[in-house]
């Protein structure tokens, strides 16, 4: 970045809100928003008598170079409001392999929550973080805009204890306000909901990795769309019913997506004025139902439903909850 431009941008940013610079990259938040998270200084006690020794320098990754660290996995984080990732490698007395401690920062706390529940239940209590899950040497945790991930190669309880201990050191560096649960998640009905199945995301790539709908972006997903997906029990041994909630920035985008979905996926004749709710029985007898929330600019879709009444009940409950949640 041109130095004069950087100075001018920094001045403007500071005048407008908050900013910090890293490696020539300016991270700015608008006036009124929370101050952006900064990568913490060394949070690990080290030196003589301490158990931990940090190996090498802290590595810092931004959206521009996150691929260098996790290759295609970077797209997962970039699908959220990812700002930076700080990585420390640690050696611990008596442990052969290195511990990798990662701290991810997002501009939206809901996105850090989304990353956490990619692989954990929304209700994962923690004393140090907002949410935390520790298993087989891996600790994943979320607080506000921060998502922490600490991996120890040892999959025993001792490995889990170590991961928990290192994550605790990271937790000490965080001073985050709790994330609010997004409305698309809050509206999901509880009846028959599979534990740990709720996901929150924005991108078509994320949806495809959870539940493949189509190669094209027929639902018009983008960084501006809020999406939740959850699984609901049906008959034992059968695939679950999937309930997808997509909230669009406005009614126009929602309507475009609805028309595209019903023509491309439900294979129904084109219509400029599709009904508020309709369904189609697909191959193998499974039913797909789509419903529209007018006031919330949202689509709610039930996939793989074995029973029409159940699909209707779930989608309509989600529509009602979304619309009630939006009431002042």
């Amino acid at each position: 970045m041109d130095a004069r431009l950087a100075v001018a941008l920094a001045f403007l940013a500071l005048a407008a809100g908050h900013a910090w610079a890293d490696g020539g990259r300016l991270i700015v938040t608008p006036e009124g928003a929370e101050e952006p998270m900064k990568p913490p200084e060394l949070p690990f006690p080290e030196g003589e008598g301490e158990r931990f020794a940090v190996v090498g320098e802290r590595s810092l990754y931004t959206p521009e170079n996150l691929s260098d660290y996790i290759n295609g996995g970077a797209a997962f984080y970039l699908g959220y409001s990812f700002e930076w990732l700080a990585v420390w490698r640690l050696k611990v007395d008596g442990v052969e392999s290195e511990i990798v401690a990662e701290l991810y920062a997002f501009s939206r706390p809901e996105d850090a929550l989304g990353v956490f529940i990619d692989n954990a239940a929304l209700d994962s209590p923690s004393e140090r973080f907002e949410r935390e899950r520790v298993s087989k040497g891996l600790c994943r945790a979320q607080s506000g805009r921060a998502f922490a991930r600490v991996a120890v190669r040892d999959r025993s309880d001792a490995g889990s204890d170590l991961a928990r201990e290192v994550a605790g050191l990271l937790a000490q560096t965080l001073d985050e306000r709790p994330a609010s649960v997004p409305s698309v998640v809050r509206c999901l009905p509880g009846d028959g909901l599979r534990e740990g199945s709720v996901r929150y995301f924005h991108s078509r790539e994320a949806l495809s990795s959870y539940y493949f709908v189509a190669e094209d972006n027929i639902l018009g997903l983008s960084p501006e769309t809020d999406c939740a997906l959850a699984s609901y029990e049906q008959t034992e041994g059968e695939s679950p019913l999937r309930l997808l909630v997509v909230r669009y920035p406005d009614a126009e985008e929602r309507d475009r997506a609805q028309r595209r979905f019903r023509e491309t996926y439900l294979e129904l004749p084109a219509s400029d004025d599709p009904p508020e709710s309709e369904s189609a029985t697909l191959e193998g007898g499974a039913l797909c139902l789509i419903a529209r929330s007018e006031s919330a600019s949202a689509l709610i879709i039930a996939f793989d439903a074995a029973d029409a009444a159940r699909a209707e009940s779930l989608t309509h409950a989600a529509v009602d909850a979304l619309e009630e949640g939006d009431e002042p």
């Binding site: 295609g72 290195e98 692989n119 709908v213 189509a214 041994g237 491309t264 191959e283």
Partner: protein
């Protein structure tokens, strides 16, 4: 080339990506394709031993070596031994580079050591002429291959040429062996042999910017076959050995220890597309087994079928793959 744009319904109908599409857990019929014609077939060996995952590393290494020997002995349809296969595939004096996985799901040292030992003992390769690498990290010789990968480092061979291809593969090596781990991947469905070359190039980024050397991340990484089509990779690669000792059946590349399945297998072949086809079928079977219900790989790993249809690189139709199953049948799953 324009490809049709499929929805989930096309997979359920069995009309997406031919016979491979039928195996990915969404098809209503859910069965393997019928045996195909004799011409254009591939041979893949799947060997499985439960004791490959022994707590005793010496025992585990010995079992993996036996598995590799069995598999290579079965690679050709005639009665060749493993020794004959290796000495026929590699000449003394050649430099051999093994493309391993160093990232989130590692290729196991036992597998690299077994390959090294077969090369030395049967093909007359010098130990120092055997390298294993991923990205900018390389190890030479038995001690490095059998030891912790944290000891690997950078050497002058580890740069990239003007085409952004690994110098080790393009210039140093006479022959390559592709040794990925078996895993699902959130962006491409699976990441096995065809995707393993991503760690042998530079100047790539998930956004596929205009100035990237290789742009392949879009459309669920459909064009991953572009790497196998490069003379520096596919032109030199003589063997694929998939480390399926522990299969990662959830959404990689970042791994969660909860989702490793102790399979105890190796998938071996010369056709990377066919090997990936069997690998994808195995991952699908593991997912279904663990979930106790259909659990389709998402997104569907279309790059395997595209590698055949667009790049002409091998066989993605399970009906045209002669799968040789060896070892423990219980829990083989495919």
């Amino acid at each position: 080339m324009n490809r049709p744009h499929h929805t989930r319904r096309d997979f359920v109908r069995g009309t997406a990506y031919g016979a491979l599409g039928l195996t990915l857990g969404m098809s209503a019929s859910g069965t393997l394709a019928q045996p195909g014609p004799e011409a254009g077939r591939a041979r893949v060996v799947l060997v499985r031993r439960r004791d490959a995952l022994s707590d005793d590393p010496v025992r585990s290494a010995a079992v993996v070596r036996e598995m590799l020997e069995e598999a290579c002995g079965a690679l050709s349809s005639d009665e060749r031994s493993s020794a004959e296969w290796w000495s026929g595939a590699f000449a003394p004096g050649e430099k051999v580079a093994i493309k391993a996985n160093l990232m989130m799901s590692n290729t196991r040292a036992e597998v690299l050591a077994a390959i090294h030992d077969c090369l030395v003992e049967y093909a007359g390769t010098e130990s120092g002429s055997i390298a294993a690498w991923d990205r900018r990290s390389v190890g030479f010789g038995r001690e490095a291959l059998a030891g912790p990968k944290s000891a690997w480092g950078q050497t002058p061979e580890m740069g990239y040429n003007e085409d952004s291809v690994s110098l080790l593969a393009a210039d140093w090596a006479d022959a390559l062996i592709n040794v990925p781990s078996l895993k699902c991947h959130w962006l491409s469905g699976v990441a096995i042999a065809l995707k393993n070359w991503c760690g042998a190039v530079t100047n790539i980024s998930v956004g596929d910017p205009e100035d990237a050397a290789f742009r392949f991340h879009g459309d669920s990484c459909a064009d991953l076959g572009m790497f196998q089509a490069l003379p520096a990779f596919g032109g030199k690669c003589r063997l694929v050995v998939v480390d399926a000792l522990e299969a990662y059946y959830e959404r990689g590349p970042q791994t969660d220890p909860e989702y490793f399945h102790p399979y105890g297998g190796l998938i071996v072949g010369a056709d990377a597309v066919a090997v990936d086809t069997i690998g994808a079928m195995l991952l699908q079977a593991i997912r279904d087994e663990v979930a106790g219900e259909p659990s389709p790989i998402s997104p569907p790993p279309k790059h395997i079928a595209v590698a055949e249809s667009k790049y002409g690189l091998g066989v993605s139709d399970p009906g045209r793959i002669d799968l040789v199953r060896l070892g423990d049948e219980d829990g083989m799953l495919v």
